[in-house]
Structures are given as structure tokens and as C-alpha cells.
Subunit: 114 residues, 2 copies
Amino acid sequence: MTRKVEEGLLDEVFHALANTTRRALLRRLAEGPARVTELAEPHGMSVNAISKHLFVLERAGLLRRSRKGHIQSCLLEAAPMATADEWIAGYRHFWNGKFDRLADFMERPKVRKE
Amino acid sequence: MTRKVEEGLLDEVFHALANTTRRALLRRLAEGPARVTELAEPHGMSVNAISKHLFVLERAGLLRRSRKGHIQSCLLEAAPMATADEWIAGYRHFWNGKFDRLADFMERPKVRKE
DNA sequence: GGTGTCGTCAACCATTTGGTTGAGGGATTG
DNA sequence: CAATCCCTCAACCAAATGGTTGACGACACC
């Protein structure tokens, strides 16, 4: 149903998160809204490069830009992360000690027993 | 500290997850180990393409291959997802209704109050 | 030993990514 | 009006992605 859409969103969100600079931008935005030049400063990059990163975040729905004159205020929109979070949640039992289903696999005939 | 390493891992893990085919592979592997050709079947792709995807997953530490003769058994290694999960957890309060820290931000002197 | 199956390696290709520089548009301010 | 600041658009570039095909190596089986 919404599978197609969700998959697309997951692609965008995970891709947006798959970059150190973009994660740093999000961390900064978590402390409050900021302008583009302001966001660019800490990174040794051109404002232009940051603007592109912001576009990626925006495409994933993680960023909202509100223009006030020529000043651009960017603010965090964390909602799409919930989708990513839910996806990962489906695998949480694999690493948090409760290996219920994994234990089930262990009983299966192995391809290799080594 | 381990920041650099973690960032690199997060890059790899999020990137690995940022693809519908790869997520489908993980979902399949969550049901138990599988061979490469077996994994390739559902997707209308060459075994070669799947092999590449598996390499990406492997690079992120999400997959372990155990070779038994020429038969390759791939199995899920979910641990690195925990790192991704922890990262996202830092933003969970933004969407789950408890805006504790966000409320804190609200009190800060804003750059622009608009 | 020959044949077939499984999987990777290597080359190739189109597209995307992540960065640069330079030009320019739109507000604000002098 | 002119100058300046903020940001985007456009072109360009190197490298990575996501796919293909073809050849090959290693086992398994007859």
C-alpha cells in the first residue's frame, strides 16, 4: 500500500543521514533554527556546498526553510526520522539480548556447521 | 575519541540502509541465513548486482559471509544497527510528544524571533 | 576427467554525489 | 542609487553508485 512511498522516504532519510556533515548540521539544528551562513561556518566548506546538503535534508523532509526577506531560517523537522526509527525497531531484538527469533534460526539445519 | 570511528561507521551503516534492495535483503536475512543466488532470486537483478549490494552490507558490518566450499552462506549481523539506533535516539524526543529539551531550546535567546 | 552450478573479478556505462568556482538576484543599509 | 550581505543557480569536476556483461576459479556430481 503505502509501501512504495515508505520505501522511497526511507531511501531519502537514510541517505540524508549517511553523511557526517549532514548529521552535524542536524545536531546544530537540534539546538535551534539557524541561517545558512551560520550553519556553514563550523565546516571548512563553501556556503554553496552546505546549501546543497540542506537541499538533501529538505528532500528527506528533515529540514524546513522559512524565508524572512533574504534571510533564510532553517529548522529541524525530525518527524521523518520516526519512519527510519520504526524500520530499525524491527531489528532491535537482534542486538538487545532477546534473541528469540534468532534462537529459532539456530535450530534450523545449517548450510555449514563447521 | 571514538568519534571519528563512529562517524565513519554511521556513514557506512546509514548508507547501507539507504537502498530499497539492500533493506529487502536484510529483511530476508532476518528470517535466516541464505545463499547469494537465493537472495538474488526475488529481485529482477543479476546475481552480480546482488553480490555488490552484499559487499556494501558487509562493509557496514551488517552481513557476515561464511564460506563452505563454493557455497556462500550470508547471515545478518545486526549489531551495527545499534549504533544507528542510538544516534536516532538522540532525536526521538522531537517527535514522540515529549519536547523536554526542545522546550529548553525555546527559552534560549533566539537568533531571530520573527 | 568433464560438466554444471555458485560466486567473484574485471571492465564498462550512466547517473548521482560531494565538492569547487563564478555569476547574479533580492533585501537591507548607507 | 550604490554597496553589501545572504543565498541560489549553473557549470564543471572527480569519485562513488548501481547496474550490466563476460570470463574465470572453485566445488560437486556424474
